[in-house]
Subunit: 179 residues, 2 copies
């Protein structure tokens, strides 16, 4: 929700790399999100999320289904280098975590694209075609290959940073003058 | 390393509650630290630790043995309400993570107590006696009962906060004026 604004403020460019957590978790030997598998940690995380959203001034509701399938993230992949990528991602996050709605329906994703003034039907068609599927699979494998084990993960100057907790460290490293 | 100074600055009192992570992890179905069990996350955490220690100006070396047995934390339990508890804990952390030394040897723990001007022999004897063992076991079970799944964990006004990442949130909540 905040990376684009923070990056702009520092004059940094973001290279967005959408990938799927489900296959990544499975390849690490987990059949579901660690928040689901480890119930004590999950209970804590949901509670902490309420506090974090309050801190950042974000709307929040605990989704009645978690994790939600998000293969329409192929839309994000198609938009990764487009100026609308940040706004699109924020709207999908709100759909899931502020309005508790399915994020895997072409209808609701299409509505977001419409509202961003984009050719929704065309983008959705492309997202459901084989090349987009293959591309998301490949990007997920690349994430795995780089040692990613969760999301969001950030790379700054080749260094990996995991989670909102480390986003500011990543931005700081990316902003530093090279010597 | 930083909680005592931060708490003092805000006029807060810390109630120290030492417990053992090993039995806690086992009761949650993990045979070892998650950093060991999940190798990708472990690799990241060790790398991130270097950066975090640099950020906080702390000496750091990756221990050649992890996790180290720390049942001499029974000393911490004996000291939980004593003025030396903070300094003692910091010295044990340094022994492990700055000097890569065994923290389970009465000799090295005794040296720390000596340097703090305390009756080392007497405290160590008490720490190795049955009541201290039972007390640490009980405190570990209490930690389990409160939903703790890692360390450090902080409670402020009944709310749980996990990790250095959330320590400032915990201190802030503890500092707020009640309405």
């Amino acid at each position: 929700m905040r990376i684009e604004e923070e990056a702009q403020r520092r004059g940094l460019r973001i290279a967005w790399k959408p990938f799927l957590l489900g296959p990544l978790f499975r390849s690490l030997g987990m059949e579901n999100s660690p928040f689901v598998l480890q119930k004590e940690k999950g209970a804590y995380v949901w509670h902490d999320m309420v506090r974090q959203c309050r801190k950042y001034g974000l709307q929040w509701v605990q989704p009645n289904l978690f994790p939600r399938l998000g293969v329409l993230l192929r839309v994000a992949l198609l938009g990764a280098e487009k100026p609308w990528i940040g706004a699109f991602c924020r709207q999908v996050m709100l759909l899931n975590f502020a309005f508790d709605k399915d994020i895997n329906q072409p209808d609701s994703i299409g509505r977001i694209l419409d509202e961003l003034g984009l050719p929704a039907a065309e983008i959705l068609k492309q997202a459901q075609a084989e090349p987009a599927k293959a591309s998301l699979r490949q990007q997920t494998e690349e994430a795995r290959g780089r040692g990613i084990f969760g999301a969001p993960t950030f790379f700054a100057r080749g260094e990996m940073f995991w989670g909102n907790n480390r986003m500011d460290d990543a931005l700081l490293l990316a902003s530093e003058q090279r010597v």
